[in-house]
Amino acid sequence: MQGRNFADATRRSMLIAGFGLTLAVGALAPATAQQPSGPPIRIGGTLALTGPLAQTGAIHKIVGDLFVEQLNKKGGLLGRPVEWVLLDDQSKPDVTRTLYERLITVDKVDLIIGPYATASILSAMAVAQRYNKILVHSTFGIPKLATYERQFPGWPLGFEPEKGMPTAALDALNSTGKGPKSIAIVTSKFPSVQFVAAGAREVAKSRGLKEALYLEFEFGTRDFGPIAARVREADADFLFMGAIGLEGNQLLEALEKLNYKPRNHFYVYPTPGPMASSPLGDGALSNTAFENLPPLNASPSAAAFAKGFNEAAAKAGLPYTEPETQAGASWSAWEILTGAVAATKSLDDKVLTEWLKKNGADTIIGHISFNGPNNYGPDLMRIKQVQKGKWVIIWPKDIATPGYSPQAK
C-alpha cells in the first residue's frame, strides 16, 4: 500500500508539473507566433487509412492533420513550416515496412512518426532501427517488444500493462466497498489484449478472487451466443474482457439476448463510441490516456486539441467525435517529437533521443518520462467508466472527473 501511495503521489506531481509546463508553452506560443518560412520540415509516416484498421487509422489522421495545422499557425518548428508526408499502409505490416523505407530513403523526410497498430509499429520500428531514426509512436500495445533504444511511446501505459490495468480496475472497484469476490475473464486471441487478460488472471489470483471462468476466443469471432451463455452460467461479480474493437459490444449484445447484464465489467480496448452510446454499456469500465474532461482538458493546448478534434471528427463524418486514448496518444506522440525538436533546435536523431531520455516530454496526457525498461516510464493510464451514457474518468481519484466516482454493483 505504501508503494502505491508513493506511486500515486509521484504521478500526481508529475501530472501537475506537466500541466504547468503545457500551460507555460501554451501561454508563450501566441506571443512568438509568426509566419513560418524556409523549406518545410518534412515528417513522414504511414497510417492504416484503408483495410481492417481504417476506423482507428481515421482518428490518427484527423489528429495529425490538426496538430500540423495548429503547429504551423503557431509559427511552425524552428521557424520553418511542417509538412506531414502521409502514406496509406492499407493495414498491412509488410506494406508499412516498405513505405517507411520509401519515406527514409527516397522521400528523405527529416523525421518519421509512427503508424497505427502494434504490428505495423513493429514493422516501422525495424526500419527506424536500420537507419538509426528516432521513432515516436502512439498506440503500441506490447511494451516488451519495443526493444529499440530510439523508440518513444506517446502512450504511457507502463512497461507492464498486464499488471497495471487489472490492478487499477480492481482498485477502483474496491474503493466503493463492493469489491468483486469472483472474476470471469474472457479474451480475444489478439496479441495486444491476450497478454493483458493473462496478466489479469495472475492479478486476480494474487488478490484472492475466485476465477469463475477463463475463456479465449478467436479474434474475428462473430457469434458470441455460446460465450455469452457461459458467462451467464459463471455469473461472476466481475467480467474482465480482453476485448479489442467491437468485441465488448458483441458480447454485451449476446448477453442481453439471454436477459443477462454483467454486474461489473471491464474492457481492455473497446471502441469508445458504441460502448458509450449503447444502453448495454452502462457501468462498463475501461482504461484511457485522455478524455475531453476536467482536469485533463484544463490546459489551453488540451482544450484547443479537444475542440479541434470534435470539429474535425464531425466534419469527417465519424459517429463518435470525442477524443480519447487513440486521439490523445496520437497527439502526445506529435507533442513529444516536435517538443524535442523545439527544445534542442535540432533534427538530429541522436540529439533528440538523448534529450527525450533525459527530460521526458510534456503532453496533454501529462508528463511522460522514458526512464523505465524499453523507454516505458510510469503508467499514466486512467480508469474510465460509462455513467449516464458517457465515459467519465473515475480512477485514480486525483484525475477523476469532478463529481464522479467508481460505481460497483
Partner: protein
C-alpha cells in the same frame, strides 16, 4: 455444463447458421446458374445494411418500408451487374476478379459515405426475446432465421415446381435444347441475377439489425459462407440450409464445451471428412 447452456448454444448456432444460409443463398444461385463466383455479393449485403442503417436508423423511416424498398433496388443492381458480365462474356474464374474489384470499389464508397468507423442501427421493432422454459429466443434472430429458412425453401420450390425454375435447370443441362423449347435463356439469367441481388438486400437488412457495421467487415463471412454454399451443393437451397446449420451448430457446441478459440476446427474438420469419405453426397 448445464442443459440450458447447451440448449442456448445450439439455438445460437441455429441463428448463426441461418444467417450464413441467408447470405449464401444468392451466392449459391449465381454460382450454379450464372457461373459467377460473386464476391460482390458480400459488398451488396453490406451496402444494403448501410442503407438500412441510414434510412431506418438515422432518418427514422419505418424499417419494413426500408426493407421493401431495398429488395427491388438490389434486384436492379444484380441485373445491372449481370448485364456487365454477360456483355463481356466473363468466365467463372475471371468473375472472381471482376466481382472482387466491384467489392473493393463498394467498400471504398461505403467508407466515403459513412466513414470507416462503426455504426449501429438500434432496432426497436424487433427487440427483446421470448422465453420457452429456460431457453430464450431473441425476436430479431428468430425473425431472421424464419425468413432465411423460408426463403431457402421458397427458392427450392420455385426451382422445382415452377415452369421458370424447370426451364432454368433444363437450360443449365443443355442450353440448345432449352432454347429450342422456347426458353429465353438470357432473360432467365437476368432473373436469377436480380433474385440474387434481392436476396443480398434481405441479408443486408438483417445484418444491420443484428450487427454493428464497419466497411472493413464486408468479407468477415466469406470463408464460412463459401463453405456452406459449396458443402450444401451449388444451387441447392435445402442443402445450403443443412450445411449452414451444421456449421453453425457444431461451432456453437464447440464453443460451449471447450475453449471457444478451437471453434472453427470442428465444423471444418467435419466438412473435410464429409468431402473425403462421402464425396458423392456433397
Amino acid at each position: 455444463m448445464s442443459a440450458t447452456l447447451l440448449g442456448q448454444s445450439i439455438l445460437s448456432g441455429i441463428f448463426a447458421g441461418s444467417l450464413y444460409a441467408l447470405i449464401g443463398l444468392g451466392m449459391s444461385l449465381s454460382w450454379r446458374y450464372l457461373r459467377v463466383i460473386n464476391l460482390a455479393h458480400f459488398a451488396f449485403v453490406f451496402f444494403a445494411a448501410y442503407l438500412t442503417y441510414e434510412f431506418a436508423g438515422v432518418r427514422g423511416v419505418n424499417p419494413f418500408v426500408v426493407a421493401l424498398a431495398l429488395v427491388p433496388l438490389f434486384f436492379l443492381l444484380g441485373v445491372l451487374q449481370q448485364v456487365l458480365i454477360l456483355r463481356f462474356s466473363i468466365n467463372e474464374f475471371s468473375s472472381i476478379i471482376v466481382t472482387y474489384g466491384l467489392a473493393i470499389v463498394a467498400e471504398a464508397v461505403i467508407q466515403l459515405i459513412w466513414s470507416a468507423d462503426f455504426v449501429r442501427y438500434e432496432n426497436r421493432a424487433m427487440h427483446g426475446n421470448l422465453a420457452l422454459g429456460t431457453l430464450l429466443f431473441p425476436v430479431a434472430d428468430l425473425v431472421m432465421a424464419g425468413i432465411a429458412i423460408g426463403l431457402c425453401f421458397a427458392v427450392w420450390a420455385a426451382l422445382h415446381f415452377t415452369w421458370l425454375g424447370k426451364a432454368l435447370r433444363a437450360g443449365l443441362d443443355n442450353p440448345q435444347i432449352a432454347a429450342s423449347f422456347g426458353v429465353p435463356n438470357q432473360r432467365l439469367l437476368l432473373l436469377v441475377a436480380g433474385s440474387a441481388g434481392a436476396l443480398a438486400a434481405v441479408g443486408g437488412f438483417f445484418v444491420a439489425v443484428l450487427y454493428t457495421l464497419a466497411p472493413s467487415q464486408i468479407f468477415s463471412w466469406l470463408g464460412v459462407v463459401f463453405a456452406a454454399v459449396l458443402l450444401g451443393g451449388l444451387g441447392n437451397p435445402i442443402g445450403l440450409v443443412a450445411a449452414s446449420l451444421l456449421i453453425g451448430i457444431s461451432e456453437a457446441i464447440t464453443m460451449a464445451v471447450t475453449a471457444p478459440s478451437w471453434a472453427p476446427v470442428v465444423p471444418f474438420t467435419i466438412l473435410i471428412l464429409l468431402l473425403v469419405l462421402w464425396p458423392e453426397r456433397v
